[in-house]
Symmetry: C2
Subunit: 342 residues, 2 copies
Amino acid sequence: MTAFTSKDVARLAGVSQSTVSYVMSGKRPISEETRRRVHDAIERLTYQPNAGARALASQRTNVVGLVVPFGPSADGAGLLPFIESIAFSARAQDYEVLLVTADEGSAGLRRLAGRSLCDGILMMDIQTEDERVPVAATLRTPVILIGVPAEPQGLHCVDMDFAQAARLAIGELADTGHDRVVILQHPTEVVQRDLNYVDRFLGPAVAVAADRRLPCRVTEPVERGRAGANRAVDQVLADRIPGERLGLVVPNANAVQPVLQALNARGVAPGRDLSVIGVCMDAWAENCEPPVTNVSGEARDVSRRAMQTLFWLLDPTPTGPPPVVDLLEPRLTRRESVMPIP
Amino acid sequence: MTAFTSKDVARLAGVSQSTVSYVMSGKRPISEETRRRVHDAIERLTYQPNAGARALASQRTNVVGLVVPFGPSADGAGLLPFIESIAFSARAQDYEVLLVTADEGSAGLRRLAGRSLCDGILMMDIQTEDERVPVAATLRTPVILIGVPAEPQGLHCVDMDFAQAARLAIGELADTGHDRVVILQHPTEVVQRDLNYVDRFLGPAVAVAADRRLPCRVTEPVERGRAGANRAVDQVLADRIPGERLGLVVPNANAVQPVLQALNARGVAPGRDLSVIGVCMDAWAENCEPPVTNVSGEARDVSRRAMQTLFWLLDPTPTGPPPVVDLLEPRLTRRESVMPIP
DNA sequence: TTGAAAGCGCTACCAC
DNA sequence: GTGGTAGCGCTTTCAA
């Protein structure tokens, strides 16, 4: 019992195979009568076109490749919203999503492109100097980076604007009369992997603090999980100068909750005894104790935009091209973790 | 600049196209000399076979479809280890992974099979009565269920053995001299969605408790997040009978941490004032405060096994077929959240 | 408005 | 051990 082909549809509808094809693609005018007959036949046979054959003939797979940072480094739940919203955007345009793990390095890219497994590629977790970027730049298949490497080599980049996020966070602490800021560094592994967003945030953050005459220190890397947060918080509390208004900035979304827990456990109340601003999704910030003032770049927005860019590259429309480096505005939401102006 | 084809390789190596094909597939003996020449040519051209053409000619896509429960119900971080290990298993066998979201329902299955997008399908988050299962059973494409519906219709099922997990958890509380057990129900949404593992755990749990003469109550659904856990814990503590040895069982992996936090926040120490046993991955259990005694079905083991089963179906080997319903043994690990025998 | 037919790049049969 | 060649099921010219 082998599947029906467009030939079967053609025979049943009493038309040629090419007519079936044109009815499906809409690439040439078809009489109402013919269209109906073909659609009927398609329905009766529950015909579906063979993807391989279509790809071979049309040079279009209708698949997007997605390179995800699994492997030793997979960074907790933050990944899911990305994958999820990419899957939805793809589906909305009749595309499938092919998953490739980042631990393959550029081999994955070469495979996707070389075998014509997909029409375009989305790549996450870009390193500042990323061996895959130069490779990606030479492929026939368009590649969109979610993140901004040192040298994008002409590739389209989409991400949250971390510089702006830094300005918002530090600015808020300056505006609310803080005396000093401590920024909790990402975990060692992230720092060592040279992930692009580390310095895109830290650089501007330090600069803005200097600008606003706010003493500002960056901690040692804060390791994942409860233990890392505890250690970092102990250190911060030990260094506190009596009476100062201290602001903590947590650029690592995964650290926000553990840090708040550590503070609570030590009887230090964010919003009363010191301030905390996190960089994380709103949903996480709201669910903290207390709800935390955050700068938010929603994963969904970033991946939706990345998909839009990719689709534009796949068929450019009259509307101008998307920006090559496309940074989305973050948003500061005030909640209860920042001390009010005295 | 269009990609090289096997014809180019053949010309460069001075052999026929079919020889190139046979060198790559190893499906017929090739002289050492020829093999070398072909491999050289492949290397020089960095030739990669076109996936569509190959699929069309061989009726094999070398792709596995993965149906993931994204959508409103996506249940936090628990999903990633599954996806991740499936991706690795696939890669190890030279397969790609195509992602389909569960919100498409059986349409996704029909598309994967009807268009020959993949050779086999893995489906997660099975409902006890799942509309997709009867559909899956009629496809030409083999489907493996991760989970066990009421009527598997001959489909292969792989999952943790929740009945055994229940026995382990309840048994441990009985053995350590508890007077009463409270089981924290999954969130409303999970219960209403009729997910198969809810009753596969609860039924046996209640039965074993009865067997051991352990009074046992199942709570109202405990909603996601801190708030849900707080409410549930308040209720449990309010119902406590002074002096009793109370055991809490938390079958919902995502609730384990919030529940422990809620207890801690109320000055109730698990392992001293009452006992907690969670059903969750070891990594999560270890990272709790205190480390929690758990029954663990590791996602990785389940998905690896599911992939093995799928690969067996794709090319059956002399070794017998895998069991149709394949339940993996869970493991109880004692940590610090269960009160020692008095 | 429609049909016939030439490929797309590969696999696998049949021949030598 | 190797080569020739007929498809796989679709899209897209070219012709009518």
